[in-house]
Assembly symmetry: C2
Homo-oligomer: 335 residues x 2
């Protein structure tokens, strides 16, 4: 049953038990003031038939704030909050649902008693963005419907979406309707806001306190860097296909932060992922050499096949989440 | 206690009972394809230290999709889902929390058994935006920190935020930290996407089915228009300081949709709100003349004073919500 359809309003999703929350809500953290001056004022009609208002663009703007929504289950079994940090061009929705309407990893871990915090990175989703180029520089990037289909190891090469073909045995829900749902989740990608974003994740860790941090893709950069800056606030780091690494000069800071790195299928045959994974492996080796602990799982080696770059949305997403849950429990982070 | 702080993770907010959800999740609806052609390709380094990727901007983009998150409580007492549509320059966060960290209207109505759907309008929040001017036209507007303080009837005129002064008895949490939290919720405001947005709200009503629709400010335009286009899908309309009206030529379509319109304090002394309210009153009169039912509440006339344009965030937000709940129950929409 697809959540949100009329029937779903009347009854819980088939086979799913209700969830009791001790608390839920959202908040924003971080951000800086940015001053604009010397610009002309203009009159703006905010709503048709409404009253025009004078808008003076000069003044102080708050840029770089970050949104986080949280759900605290009862009873609670995770020993620390679980923070979920999405990848580039996406928002926290990555963890909330799947393109074919199944429950997402947010549900999976909440149902196992983890307090779950799902945030939107700076300038994406409910964090807002600035539209002041001087504040963050650069041009956001917006993807065509074909781009992720080919780049996220779903389709079998150029033109695959038009053909409607996927890599053999691919687990991503790639039917037309589901893939369209995934594209609706895509938002413009900022490539010049890393510093602001890292600052905001730091503010999130300071506010929530010691946490388990789970990151995806671009989030790998932020997860590793944030843990290097605040090793006392990161009790474990789960990295789902990290697209970038942390600071090689500060690997020693990670020696007491247990890490799990996950990679999906089809990497050897991909144009970019062999190099991205090799870079991640070099970083992991450096962390180990500094006395740290990094467990690396290539899903196919565990007999889990067909996973795209979006494994938290793949049809076997619960299987992959189960492997993460097992690892966290093994580290004594779940009671 | 401020949600999200470390203590809040361990225990429910003081004096608040846990909430049981039969189901929760999110989805996107709507949107159109938009084709871009004749643009040069470029190489993009998505993450520092990552692998550059070629990005071809030509192709088909999905624009105008809309995000909605839902929570279905158990037991359920609302006879229909309650859809919450935010105002301009903001997102669904409007309903989720208050700037001083109290529970928002989402909590208030969920705790009374309403299935609550909180959406982000097209091109705002998790709905994403296009960055293709040809697709939607116009320039988004971003507000200085002073602008809403003066325009939303919080401060007592120009320079009030710098002075730290408010209208007498103002209920908005205007202390420095709280107001900063509110500014973090602000996102760029689009003034040229009304058609796309109305289309997406229609898609939301078609997906969820007959609902009670609650709108704020700019949402007044969308709420009235959507109800005129789909009177069978809107069982009641609650309008919180609507900034614009519906289609005067189609008021007859609203004759079977009970409506409640709420206005806060300080309107008579404001530069724009007397005209905005007068226009709303003319529209309400036209709906009544066509056989419809519109109840109008000016909060001060009920002895509820000090409310800003953001009454769902004001310190007496529960009092105002209680008045709405009473009205809905009175219409037989709550059992």
């Amino acid at each position: 049953m697809v959540p949100g359809t009329a029937p779903a309003v009347a009854a819980p999703a088939a086979g799913r038990a209700p969830i009791t929350l001790a608390e839920f809500g959202s908040f924003h953290v971080g951000g800086r003031d940015f001053v604009v001056s010397g610009q002309p004022t203009r009159e703006v009609l905010f709503s048709p038939g409404g009253q025009p208002a004078r808008v003076d663009p000069n003044g102080t703007y708050l840029v770089g704030g970050m949104y986080a929504g949280y759900m605290i289950p009862a009873p609670q079994r995770g020993r620390f909050p679980l923070l979920m940090w999405h990848g580039g061009g996406l928002t926290g929705v990555t963890w909330e649902t799947t393109p074919d309407g199944r429950e997402g990893w947010q549900h999976f871990f909440l149902r196992r008693g983890w307090p779950v915090y799902v945030s939107d990175a700076v300038e994406r989703g409910r964090s807002g963005w600035t539209m002041i180029p001087e504040a963050t520089g650069g041009q956001p990037i917006f993807l065509t419907e074909d781009n992720p289909y080919e780049r996220f190891r779903i389709g079998d090469g150029p033109g695959s979406r038009a053909r409607g073909t996927t890599l053999p045995g691919n687990q991503f829900p790639a039917d037309g309707d589901s893939y369209r749902n995934f594209m609706r989740q895509n938002v413009p990608r900022f490539t010049t806001t890393d510093e602001l974003t890292l600052e905001a994740y730091g503010a999130l860790l300071d506010r929530v306190g010691p946490s388990v941090v789970m990151v995806h893709s671009q989030g790998g950069f932020f997860g590793w860097r944030a843990a290097q800056e605040r090793p006392d606030k990161v009790r474990a780091l789960v990295l789902v296909e990290p697209a970038a690494v942390g600071d090689l000069a500060k690997v020693a800071a990670l020696k007491d932060v247990p890490m799990l790195v996950l990679y999906g299928d089809y990497i050897d045959g991909d144009a970019r992922w062999p190099a991205i994974r090799a870079s991640g492996m070099r970083f992991a080796e450096a962390v180990r050499a500094a006395g740290g602990s990094v467990d690396v799982v290539n899903l196919p080696e565990r007999g889990i096949r067909g996973n795209s770059h979006m494994m938290m949305m793949d049809r076997n997403s619960d299987t992959v989440a189960g492997l993460v849950q097992e690892w966290l429990a093994g580290k004594g982070l779940w009671a």
